[in-house]
């Protein structure tokens, strides 16, 4: 069964198209890496899939339902720097947030089973010892893993991640990428991930979409990460360089993307 299908999807803001005529399909359990320059429409596309934005034409289905009817199947992971860190919440409370709104309107006390599940998913993302730590006191990579745990607590069918590696140092990027790999392997959740840096994510990516307001390319990584495709978006200085069994994608905006054919 297809997890996400889009046919001739055009997304607009006040009538002005931000994404035009996009058609693609993601199967259950697949991971889509969404690549493109700033303003390409990556965040617009994922926000529409997650039902934050509703102004679109064409067909968009999430597990064969309109996106807004499939919200309980979706776990959305925002960029951590979009959050208001003045709020003194602990890592555990942030994770529990993903579970409490399944029932009730008043959440004065978090139900014990939700706290138990929150601890379980924190353990899954490797942060069992940091449950009581304030969210704002965590490192960038730890914050991102807490947000992943928050999305996982509701057992979603799809995870949508907005630039999970942005503003992270290389070791934190590796940490987060490792957790994403674990989610894919152990939970088989469909994921849609926007990124400027595809390199650490190629382990988990089944498909790559290159977007620049319109669909430039969509397919398996080795099909999309080609010289001519990359140049068409990032300009003539961009290129794909084969080194041994790996592809390095050098774009005009200095982002380095690499695709390895074998296991790394």
């Amino acid at each position: 069964m297809a997890a996400i299908t889009a046919e001739n999807l055009t997304i607009t803001y006040d009538g002005v198209p931000a994404v035009e005529g996009v058609t693609f399909e993601i199967e259950r359990g697949e991971t889509l890496l969404l690549l493109g320059p700033n303003g390409a429409g990556k965040t617009t596309l994922i926000k529409t899939i997650a039902c934050f934005h509703r102004e679109y034409s064409g067909e968009l289905r999430v597990f064969d339902r309109p996106p807004c009817e499939a919200r309980e199947l979706i776990g959305y992971v925002p960029q951590s720097h979009n959050l208001n860190e003045r709020v003194p919440l602990t890592a555990l409370e942030v994770v529990a947030m993903g579970g409490v709104y399944r029932r009730g309107f008043v959440h004065f006390k978090i139900a014990p089973e939700i706290l138990e599940k929150a601890e379980e998913v924190l353990n899954f993302v490797g942060l069992a010892g940091l449950a009581g730590r304030l969210f704002r006191e965590l490192s960038g990579g730890q914050k991102q893993r807490v947000l992943l745990a928050r999305a996982l607590i509701s057992d979603p069918e799809i995870l949508i991640l907005d630039e999970p590696l942005s503003a992270l140092d290389p070791s934190a990027r590796a940490e987060v990428a490792a957790v994403l790999g674990k989610i894919k392997r152990e939970r088989g959740i469909t994921m849609v991930i926007t990124t400027h840096d595809i390199n650490p994510l190629l382990e988990v990516g089944d498909k790559v979409m290159l977007l620049n307001k319109k669909l430039v390319a969509f397919g398996k990584p080795e099909e999309v990460l080609r010289d001519s495709v990359i140049k068409s978006v990032y300009g003539p200085l961009a290129r794909v360089v084969p080194v041994e069994d790996k592809l390095f994608c050098i774009t005009g905006d200095t982002h380095l993307h690499r695709h390895g054919g074998g296991g790394r």
Partner: protein, 273 residues
């Protein structure tokens, strides 16, 4: 023998402290300081309209009711504008400018009405709403403050975590099944209703300061949520009670003393940083 009016003032201070002490951290974390500025304008407009109606109908108990209705209407309009996509500051700016203009017009009407009514009680003077007249609180005012305050307190308490989540990540709250719009509306109505309820004791001029600074100070000195609320509560209580007692002996308006004390504490903490 402690005068009865002082006991009423102290009891009113306790209720005001409980409400503001709980609310203030929320105002700071959600970034509602500018909203309290709009509430200042709305309360003043509401008090003026209330006085006009009260004088015309010979029923000055309408003042608080009209102030409450106007304030709640204003905060609901602001919340609605935010949901339409305006930033919180823009929404407040749009509404507050209209309300400020209407307030000035209202003053003109009030003066004309007052000219036809040469006497009305000092406790209902518009000046008492500006500076706060805690020593003029009647038993009836205190009863309204205690019962209304208790209701608002429990609503705030039970939804406190939801308000924190709303402040932390409204998109996340929405995506996990929460009703962002409803929580935002309730929070804004709470801020407006608490403002209307305590305005006679705290005063319009100082309302914004006493609503914002305790939470700001608590967030500066503590990071754990329970401790933040605890510091905010005890600070507000200490400031309110001491300002009433000082005012009793010095004849200086307590709202002015409370504001100055809070300002000094905040300033000292900022300098120490």
């Amino acid at each position: 023998m402690i005068p009865e009016y002082l006991i009423r003032a102290l009891l009113a201070s306790v209720m005001v402290s409980v409400l503001l002490g709980m609310l203030s951290p929320l105002i700071n974390t959600k970034g509602l300081a500018f909203l309290t500025h709009a509430i200042f304008h709305a309360l003043l407009l509401g008090a003026i309209l209330g006085m006009i109606f009260g004088l015309l109908l010979d029923n000055l108990s309408l003042v608080m009711l009209v102030a409450l209705v106007v304030t709640v209407a204003v905060v609901l309009i602001i919340a609605h504008l935010e949901k339409l996509g305006f930033s919180p500051d823009s929404a407040v700016g749009i509404v507050a400018s209209f309300v400020a203009g209407l307030t000035v017009l209202g003053f003109g009407v009030l003066y004309k009405v007052m000219a036809g009514k040469p006497y009305f009680p000092l406790s209902e003077s518009i000046v008492s709403y500006l500076t706060g007249e805690i020593f003029l609180i009647t038993l009836n005012d205190l009863t309204v403050l205690v019962f209304g305050g208790a209701l608002l307190f429990f609503v705030m308490l039970f939804l406190y975590r939801d308000f924190l989540y709303l402040s932390f990540d409204p998109d996340g709250l929405e995506s996990y099944g929460g009703n962002t719009r409803a929580y935002l509306m309730i929070l804004y109505v709470l801020v407006g209703a608490i403002g209307a309820l305590i305005v006679q004791t705290v005063g319009l001029i100082t309302l914004q300061v006493v609503a914002v600074l305790p939470g700001a100070i608590a967030l500066m000195v503590k990071s754990d949520l329970r401790k933040v609320i605890g510091v905010s509560l005890f600070l507000t209580l200490g400031i309110q009670l001491s300002s009433v007692i000082l005012a009793y002996f010095t004849d200086i308006p307590p709202s002015g003393l409370a504001t100055i004390m809070l300002g000094v504490i905040y300033g000292v903490l900022l300098f120490r940083r």
